[in-house]
């Protein structure tokens, strides 16, 4: 399946991915100014820039083939779509027990405690049906969206 791959040698640590992720999942879809100025309770970013200067990179759900979170979920809310491979959380049913956080080997699940506690994670912007917002707005192609990592594809 297509995944987002980070290339740490080109991550500039700007966190634009986080900013656009928040906007893409806010009620003011993709409108940055409204998201940050009017949404009193904006969503948490589902992508996380990790940084220890000079190294930085963005990390989000890897949509594991054998996704441990879906197996550990105590209510069956975390599911992997058999067709697209995208792992999504049915937030309605999620009770925020954080068992997925216990098992996610990437630490890619965030606690969203704005309202009813839910596990929040990358959905590859599947609702938009296009390139994920983080990839689209990465200024330096440090995020690539593809079937396999760029390095492998180019044989580097």
């Amino acid at each position: 399946m297509k995944r987002v791959y980070a290339r740490e040698e080109y991550c500039v640590g700007c966190k634009l991915c986080e900013i656009h992720c928040i906007a893409a999942h806010s009620k003011y879809k993709n409108d940055l100014i409204k998201t940050f100025k009017k949404d009193t309770n904006p969503p948490v970013s589902r992508i996380l820039v990790e940084e220890n200067k000079p190294v930085s990179f963005a990390l989000q759900c890897r949509h594991c083939d054998d996704a441990p979170c879906t197996k550990a979920c105590i209510v069956g809310a975390m599911q992997k779509d058999p067709e697209t491979g995208i792992v999504t959380n049915e937030e309605d049913r999620c009770v925020g027990c954080w068992t997925c956080i216990l098992v996610c080997p990437y630490g890619a699940i965030q606690r969203d405690e704005r309202g009813h506690k839910v596990a929040s994670k990358c959905d590859l912007c599947s609702e938009n049906g296009k390139v994920p917002a983080c990839v689209e707005h990465c200024p330096n192609r440090a995020l690539e969206y593809g079937e396999e990592p760029f390095y492998l594809a180019k044989g580097k």
Binding site: M1, R3, Y5, A6, E8, L48, E50, E51, N52, V55, S56, F57, L59, R62, H63, C64, D65, D66, A67, P68, K71, A72, I74, V75, G76, G85, D92, R93, V95, G96, C97, W98, T99, C100, I101, L102, V103, C104, P105, Y106, G107, I109, Q110, R111, E148, P149, Y151, L152
Partner: protein, 421 residues
């Protein structure tokens, strides 16, 4: 080919999904003594507290059985397994033949002997019906005594407190959650629970449940006694091996299984709380009554039953749980057992913050995270993959420990392998 599954919970559902990944057609018969659509067992305390409605308890959607071509026999109790004739025997003496059988009967509460267990309003706390029974009688202002300060006991305590019940918890050990927390962490959790009005009696146990027909109180071995309208017995669970006791299937503490989740008898598999599987942290067979383990074993059993050779190379204890907004995640060995263990700790009790990591030979074997539980799974995966952490030990306790703290090679190999967790 005819698959029979006994059980209707995490392990059973895992098996259905495992079988159907490989075999889309052959019939699956699923038998369960509980009359309900598969539901999430851990949610029963939420249900009790009214935080989750009954229809939101479903572990899989309404159309799950239909979509997966599963014939259900709900509300039907199995009493025995006849491995010679390859059939399971039902309570009404009917027989259900199988080609491949999965036993996923889970656990039953462990009830220590004590006087007065027969009185009304003494409950256990592991099934939907337990909750329904409690709901029938509980009233605001009631007093409850909970026997056992383990996960289930404290979940019951939380649920009842939320209903306005005055709760006292009795625990034989010197601390709450003795199986998953050390003394320091338990102290923080206990203080937090006490703030919510829950009282504790540690280092003691119940001598007798008193009352005439109905519970009126409990008397403790330490001499104290408490008035009570309700008693919940939650001292632990044990594998529900009842139906195999007269069969050839090998049972130690639970049904013994190998990496393929096979029992000692051909074509008979077992998964979940009922089993005794391999614990990779302790490197021995152990009963691990936790849901991720049940699902994984169930799925592995299902794959193997349908002919796709598959291995579950072992689980280990791991729990994520929270009480009144204090989350905690723990896994593996949580107390050093001898001088071969190295212990890293960071503790800020005022903030309810506690982090402890246990290493053996530079490999993480267990941890406790209180409050700041984010990204704990990274550490879980270090345990699972037995990563040598000698090079980055000092950052393990760091706030926000993450992939950035892993050596570049390890980080890249993990991130680039994409989907293969």
């Amino acid at each position: 080919m005819n698959y029979v599954i006994i059980g209707n919970s995490a392990a059973a559902i895992g098996a259905v999904e495992g079988i159907r990944q490989v075999d889309k057609t052959n019939p699956i018969v699923l038998i369960s003594d509980e009359p309900y659509h598969t539901y999430s067992r851990p949610l029963i305390s939420y249900y009790l507290a009214g935080k989750v409605a009954e229809d939101k308890m479903l572990y899989r959607k309404h159309d799950f059985y239909e979509k997966n071509k599963v014939t259900t026999m709900l509300g039907t109790k199995v009493v025995a397994v006849d491995t010679g004739n390859k059939e399971v025997v039902l309570e009404n003496d009917e027989k259900v033949p199988y080609d491949k059988l999965l036993i996923a009967t889970g656990s039953v509460p462990f009830i220590p002997p004590m006087a007065g267990l027969d009185k009304n309003n003494v409950f256990t706390f592991i099934k939907m019906d337990d909750i329904k029974a409690i709901k029938e009688v509980v009233m605001v202002g009631n007093k409850a005594v909970i026997i056992g300060a383990g996960l289930i006991g404290l979940k019951a305590a939380e649920g009842l407190t939320n209903l306005g019940v005055d709760v006292t918890v009795v625990e034989l050990a010197n601390r709450v959650l003795p199986a998953i927390l050390d003394e320091d962490a338990a102290g923080i959790v206990q203080a937090h629970l006490e703030k919510q009005g829950i009282k504790f009696e540690l280092n003691t146990s119940v001598e007798a449940i008193t009352g005439s027909e109905k519970v009126e109180g409990v008397s403790l071995k330490n001499g104290k006694s408490y008035a009570a309208d309700i008693v919940v017995v939650a001292v632990g669970v044990r594998p529900n091996t009842e139906i195999v006791k007269d069969s050839q299937i090998a049972v130690s503490r639970g049904i013994v299984i190998n990496d393929y989740c096979q029992t000692s008898i051909d074509d008979v598999y077992a998964a979940g709380d009922v089993t005794e599987g391999y614990d990779i942290v302790y490197a021995q067979q152990r009963v691990l009554p936790i849901l991720p383990n049940a699902y994984n074993q169930g799925e592995t059993a299902g794959l193997n039953m349908a002919g796709k050779i598959s291995i579950f190379n072992g689980g280990f204890a791991m729990n994520s749980i929270g009480f009144f907004g204090l989350p905690m995640i723990t896994a593996g060995i949580i107390k050093s057992e001898d001088e071969n263990y190295e212990v890293l700790v960071k503790s800020v009790p005022e903030q309810g913050y506690y982090k402890k990591i246990i290493l053996k030979d530079n490999v993480v074997v267990g941890y406790i995270y209180l409050n700041k539980v984010d990204r704990a799974g990274i550490v879980t995966s270090l345990i699972k993959d037995k990563i040598n952490v000698a090079d980055f030990k000092e950052v393990l306790l760091k706030d926000g420990f993450g992939y950035i703290d892993l050596p570049q090679e390890l980080r890249k190999s993990r991130l680039l392998r994409g989907g293969i967790a």
